[in-house]
């Protein structure tokens, strides 16, 4: 993985941990392939909250219709990078 995506993954993990007050995990130990719904237990309102913080951080719009496919930190990172490239 490139440094860009690694940094994005770590920052997303940090945001999720902060916003959802997750315990027993750090941005460094957060598995980017963990299924956020099945394995972390987040729901649509949690994801919408994270999406708003990501919007602030990265200046991108996250379509509500895209929520269902944003299932892991890695996928969210790839989504953000793709959105940013669209905006350039």
């Amino acid at each position: 993985m490139s440094t860009d995506i690694q940094q994005t993954i770590q920052r997303i993990a940090e945001i999720i941990i902060d916003e959802l007050k997750l315990e027993d995990v750090t941005p460094e130990t957060f598995d980017p392939d963990l299924d956020l719904v099945d394995e972390v237990g987040i729901d649509s309102m949690d994801l919408a909250t994270v999406a708003l913080v990501l919007r602030d951080e990265y200046g991108i719009r996250i379509d509500e219709d895209d929520y269902p496919r944003l299932t892991t930190v890695k996928i969210i990172a790839e989504y953000i990078i793709e959105k940013q490239s669209e905006n350039e």
Partner: protein, 351 residues
Amino acid sequence: MTAPKQAFKFSDIIADPKIRERWEKVRRYFFLRESTYDMTSRCNIKCDGCYYYAGEKQFATANTSPEYWRGLMESEKERGITFVVLAGAEPALVPELCQVCFDVMPLGAIATNGLKPIPREIDYQIHISVWGNDQTSLAVRKAPDMLARQMNNYKDDPRAVFVYTFTPNNIEEAAEVVKQVADQDMKITFNMFSAPVGYTGPLCHDSASLLKTREAMDALLTSYPQHVLFSKYNIVSHTHPKGLHDLFSCPYPRRNPSTDIGLGRSFRQYRTDLQWDREAACCVPDTDCDDCRHYAAGSAVVTARMYRHATDPDTFSAWLDYVDTYLAVWVRGYEKGQNLCDHFITPPPSA
């Protein structure tokens, strides 16, 4: 394609102390995951336009075994459900089943006509349906002295929330009903008659009745802010010429094929035989989706669309008022705050 520039960052919006306080208050309840349950096929009255007696669910063979219901609640809990809504046809007729549900699931609400008191030990929010003054209730529900009996049954009961369903024919009567409820220091919220599939009778709203209802709701909210659980944004969302699905894209399984997250993943509507059908699963099955302005639907449909409301402090405040109202209506012990937004906000388009 360039993303539209956001006028406000979310962090700027919630930097306002009043907004932040309300945001922190409501987000503590984001863990709520609901499903709904028809408790019995019996009812002690027969109302025109009743949702329960539309469609196929009324013909299900009711499971009356408390142990089966306990098993269902335990399995619901296991799959992540944290809030149950006990409805159809009349849950007060099966208090032993309601008690079993409460024993397993501590958070929930019961929809009742209020004519038979539900034991206090079942500490769910109790939604008591009101369809007009007693004269109208007698005509539409064939039951005399309904409001007096409902209020007597639930006097000084903190679980009780009256739910006034507006039809085109009872708009003026709302003022006298709300006054009577407020005089007893009880709470009331508003619902909109939403046609069951195929219903074309006189209870259906049209553009004139929607506008008239909006004005009536607004006047009552202004006159009884301590007793009417509603907000300006509730009024807009439920009296808009477009229904809730058109405005906000309903996330219930019936209209949402995704099973990945949210209501599309977790929501089920169980019939009395403890079966459920994804094709029919929403909070008020057999409602015509195009006409749906139901209060129960809005509680989920509007709430789910947080992202699109986080565009500016006014719009986000309106959404917070809506969620604050929904929680006060549905969750025992949740106290509604003063509304943050004092004017009508246009529902934002999809983000």
